[in-house]
Amino acid sequence: MIRHLIVDVTLVVAFLTLLGLLTVVGVDRLRSFPAMASEQLRLLLPYLVLLGLVLVVNDFLRNLGPSFSWIVGWRITEDIVALEGGFVATVQGYSHPWLTHYFSVTYIYGYIFLLVFPILAYLLYTDDRRPAREAVIAYSLNYGIGVLCYILFIAYGPRNVPEVHVDGLLYTYWPESQLITRELNANVNVFPSLHASLSFTIAFLAYRWREVYRWWLPISALLALSVSLSTMYLGIHWATDVVAGLVLAAVSLAGAIWLTSPDRHDGPVGAIGRHLRRLVDVPVLAASRRVRALYRSFRTDKSSSVPPETE
């Protein structure tokens, strides 16, 4: 059943992404990309590797986190209840079947699309690599700081706390979705909301690079707002978590801009960056040279007369 759901989500997100590429990025840019592809990928690969590592560590820590957090973490459910009380219940006061449907779909499909699309879109933007670099670093910071918070703070979301009279709308409306969300996160990892922080990060980036893809700003802003609202509307997060997510988004983006700024190219940050990138670059360059050589020898075998070119 969960496999069926994953396939479903993958197909929907792939379709949305394709649609986005055709409209937001544009056919011209897609056509011209293959010529630049290898160079673009080589330059951005170390960033993607970093993000991959952060995600792996993040996943490991999120699963390990809760049992560890119960021993060392700060239990803040009661503090959040005392702080905001019935806010989420008030949000749910406006519930309507259409809204529930909209927010459920946004929470799962919209959010994943929101994460996947900009990475691809900025990767395709060969004029300037800064948007892609900033996006990847900002994602990494979000996940890194987020998981640290999950270990330090342990709290249940509003749907788990009946005293605030909030429904777990997502799971009553669409019980199967919990099969996916439970795989991804534990129910005590709510502060801050990574749904909110990543969505805001993307919307902020879209604003910062609004000249790059002009239609992406309104789309991402609408989606980010919807995703953040959905976390509360569906009873998953507190307003406190969403505000914390907003702060985390600002911090992560500022951090990413600072870290990737050309001003720091000659400073220690730049030096560390180059050092790290060499770790990835050397094996990747070697591998790509080997592939190219193989490709050439294959071609020469076919034509069988021309001697292999020397580099």
């Binding site: 009661e78 799971y171 099969l179």
Partner: protein, 592 residues
Amino acid sequence: MSSRQRSPALTRRRFLGATAATGLGASSGCLQRVRSLFNRDSLSTLSVTILSPPSDDDEIASELASRIGSSLEAVGIGVEIQYLPLVELRRQVLINGDFEMFVGRMPPVADPDCLRERLDSVYAEEPGWQNPYSFTDLTLDGFLARQRTTAGEDRERAVDDVVGHIVREQPFVTIGFLQSIRAVRSGKYTGWSRYGPRSPLTYLGLEGEEDLDSLRVSITDSEITRNLNPLSAAYRENDPFLQLLYDPLVYRTEDGTLPWIAETIDWEEGETTRATVTVRPESAWHDGVDLTAGDISFTYRFLKDTSLGELGVAVPSPRFRGRVDLIDSVELVDSETVVLDFGSTSRAVARHGLTVPILPEHRWIDHTDEANVSGFNSVSGTTDALVLSNTEPVGSGPLRFDSVTAGSSLDLRRNEEHFLHANPPESFPDHLRAGFAFERLALRTVPSHQASVEVLRSGTVDATAATLVPTAVPEAVGSTDLSLAVKDGATPYHLGFDTSTGPFSNPYFRRLVARLVDKGHVVEEVFEGYGDPASNPLDPSEWTADAMAFDGTDPEVPFIGTDGEVAVSEAREAFRDRGFNFNEDGKLVRRE
């Protein structure tokens, strides 16, 4: 507790007072007055903490906690509800005894003697489900001892006294029994309601409608995929699955007992009650080693003290303490025979002692050392045996361990060597003589009851484990492929007090708290009608006299108010009558 949190402030005030007093010290006469002022306890508002599982773990308990909390707050008692995952909650309540109130299910009280385990003052200091309320009462101890040694009408009278006393004293507030509801796919297995919802015999008594290879059951509590130790008090409540791995000597059923790995039991009721038990000769452990009477004698010694004398202080297994305590001594006669001596305990109670799981000596003998694990500091130290994860269990049951994936699945396989499959006893009912109707019992974890109905509908599993929450029932009812198996519940929801601290040591306070719980209303609203309110854990049964049973209203602690709504001024009046005071803001104040 607020009094504890407040104490630094008080200390500071006292300190300032002392400083002032020293300053004034020279002017003599004043000192006396200052001292008597500052040494007097000041009034502070009462605030209590209720421990509750979150809705994900038990939506009924968390809803009850929320309702009790708001009733207490309405009257003027500050409440903080602390949400803990079930395992943490049990650890904090049952093992560390660190709580004021908690809401949850109580393990089944199958026999009045279970109440001895729950409330005898001899267990007040121990971890586990024996007296977690730290209740100490000479009168009750006397009644409990009497029901243990008597039989027939004498015992009935003794149990009446026990029930009457519990209902009056309210060491915990029994709220009610939620019915056990299980959803199953139609046309696969039948016989789901033959035994109690949590009885392992339920799975043995199933009949397959087709040629079926496996029975796939969804479970919402994934702890059994992380810990398979039958002795663990934090991880085990009363799931039936481990009992299918570890056989007892006998099973208790509604019509008496079913001799299991004991082939015969000869009772002797003279000066002491004695049972001569012979083991089924073909019994063997899952690893091939013979199961002998030596293992039985070992099990009782081991459950009484899992350190087997090595730690100086006995470290009993919390889960089976009450039952093992019934046995005074075990005498190993030969490899097939043991004699259990129950002392003055009557036979009716003694047979309860035969239901503990029998453990293989050769596997457990190595786990008698002292364990050191954080979050587990019992009063008398603890042994490795009690904290072991035991992820590859070796028992003697009709199912054997196959594989486990932490957090997601547990597979058990039919044990062909088990007497039930190899040589089913003539005396057993037909549905049991057939053994398991499947080769494999596959447990699959699902995140919620609601999701479990969806998974069931998709055909990935054949049944949900008992018991569905009422909010998931409409989903199941709406599907033609599914049917429901409903049985009366055995594990009452209750509100437990730590009766050794603060206002909870005052029975009048406990009774007043009990009177703020509208049991009838709660069963209607929270149980959605799937259940019955109860005045005590033996209500309703032949053990509760009519006068003590819940009958529209609680016989001793009737709700103050109507339809779940507390009548505040009346309730405050009731508190005032018992010497409690309220300040001008309507908050209950105490001297401390």
